[in-house]
Amino acid sequence: MGGATVLYQDRESQADGAQAEGDALWLTLSELTATTGWELKPEGVCKEETCVPVPAARRAAMIRTQPSGTQLNLTEFARLIDQPVAHDQATSVWYFGPAGWEWRTRLSTRVAPDFALPDLSGRVHSLSDLRGKKILLLFWASW
């Protein structure tokens, strides 16, 4: 089946060249970078300062060469970095959560995780903008 909607936490993209095969989602290298920010390099799968080496034993399950070019299996990479995946076959929507190195230590340091969100006017506020002040952070909803 061709094409997929990739939700990389709150980053939403359309990957028209994606091939979904059961639990595997194969992406072309350009769509890999466009949808996730990850890039396949000789040293591994890299984003900014982080490079994840591809273990030899998992290489075949993660990287393949098709006549159209090289592809990476994003769900196999998710397994490697302990990232939760949920997908809906009927609509071909794939959700990828945070990597294990982020969620495993998230709240254990007791440091308030930083975030940036818009207000009603669209202005974005970061928690870190308020560093140096006491903050009462209140979550609410209409439901």
Binding site: L7, Q9, D10, E12, D82, P84, V85, A86, H87, D88, A90, T91, V93, Y95, F96, G97, P98, W103, R104, R106, L107, S108, R110, V111, A112, P113, D114, F115, L117, P118, D119, L120, H125, L127, S128, L130, R131, G132, K133, K134, I135, L136, L137, L138, F139, W140, A141, S142, W143
Partner: protein, 198 residues
Amino acid sequence: MVTVACDANGRAAVEPFITAAHQQHPSLLDETLQVAELYDVRNVPSVFWIDETGRMVRAHDPIYAQRRNRETGEVTVNRDYLDAVRDWIAKGDHSTFLMDAKRLDSRLPALDADDVEAAAFFHLGTYLAKRGHPAEALVHFKRAHALRPQNWTYKRQAWNLGDIERDYGTTFQEALKDPASGPFYPSLDLVEPAGDGG
């Protein structure tokens, strides 16, 4: 003070409340509930106190400082809680209302693989519900609920996007009694509960 509306219906659902409150502080919109996940918000309200260095000193207080009854318009002020906040503002680290490390850790348990998998199903369900795929959304919401029945955010948001009786075969009152769900809110102990050993 910062408020975060973790609400998949976004502006349309929350703007009337924000406007009516005439708030002077940042009132932010978390339409994908990613920030709610970041703080492991399992129900609302949930209040955190964060000190000047960015450390949490209270976590998951299930309380509004004041609230207005929707029918009568009557405003109830949680005086004890407001006093606790004022004490913290005045005394900082010396306030008696701060949670110690042990208590904070018990309110901020480490996540496991099922927690993040449940979150993934919930976020996928939310996306599908908002894009007009309610039947598909329901499947993923139910997976999230089965994995983490204690998370009321997953349930209340899903019920709000669908219909609790038609889609989930229950009512709010019945769901409250489900033993798998545990308490609707965590405890609100302004000071260390007696006999806690801390």
